[in-house]
Symmetry: C2
Subunit: 205 residues, 2 copies
Amino acid sequence: MTASIANSSPTKRGRPGYDQDSVLSIAVEVFNKHGYDATSMGKLAENLGISKSAIYHHVPSKGDLLRLALDEALVPLEAIAEDERAVTGTAEERLKFFLRSTIRVLVKRQQYVTLLLRLRGNTEIERDALERRRAVDRRVSDLVVEAQHEGSLRSDIDPRTTTRLLFGTINSLVEWFREDGNVTAEQVEEHAITMMFDGLHHNGK
Amino acid sequence: MTASIANSSPTKRGRPGYDQDSVLSIAVEVFNKHGYDATSMGKLAENLGISKSAIYHHVPSKGDLLRLALDEALVPLEAIAEDERAVTGTAEERLKFFLRSTIRVLVKRQQYVTLLLRLRGNTEIERDALERRRAVDRRVSDLVVEAQHEGSLRSDIDPRTTTRLLFGTINSLVEWFREDGNVTAEQVEEHAITMMFDGLHHNGK
């Protein structure tokens, strides 16, 4: 695991061979593997192959590492709503834009989103992140309601369950998608949208 | 949490106020909350409100508790293939039967399936369970291939991705379905099948 640090590009800050991004990227792997609560700064240092004080050179505490790692997922998720396509077109078009964009973030920031999805809310930092995640989720559930009202989405499934099924499908990508697999990120995005909106049943189309 | 033991029905074995099912049901909650690796027999005893020796009265080791708990999920999942409906009808019908039956097990054995889905494979018992889970999953992926061949399932999504999307959607139920919620288990089963096969898009049907 230390290899990825050794190979990492020129550092942003001070210490040769390390930068905050590398520390963050390995920290999130260790958090995901052992759980945030069970990961001590000592264990992190061991995985990074550096001393605890070298970590403290980059971030003041484990909580700050967590906050920075969660931002890697939350900032791009929150940015989706700022795009013009998030506010133009039918509710179904906007919903699809949100879902496609969410899938892109999930695929690009897989480890960070995994961390976000597994949060337990034991600390203030975790609860803040969960609140931000809920705000992001609410935009999608509002769009589901709107799309059902405009008649583009079937309304025999209640909006709450519809939203849960959509997120269930999308969020599962972080568990199984592999960038070096047979299917590209673009294909997965297309396939997931197709299943959710058109279904897997072959209609002779 | 001890209340559920105090209120539990007549014991199957020896010790008054406890039976193996109660111990199992609380053990699986604690495993899911803290992770199997991080749960000591001491922590279990604390959550059960009984002594460690009282746990050992029911099961010889933490590993045995895990094995018993995983059987609560795996045995009914494996039983699906034994049903007549698993071997009669078109591939699509059999696939739907498998998926519906899986959803039922997920909903009825939610905690146990959660434990199964979160396994890391660090011990022999975990690896055995994962192997059994893979065997169950393979039956579904074989049916997906068959249903694409018979032309009932769209084949513009490769069978592997199709299977992943199906399991992603279904498995997510253990994370959000609540038996005391607004939607019944039967409705969730129906809704999930509808989304996966017919899609959420309203076709004017």
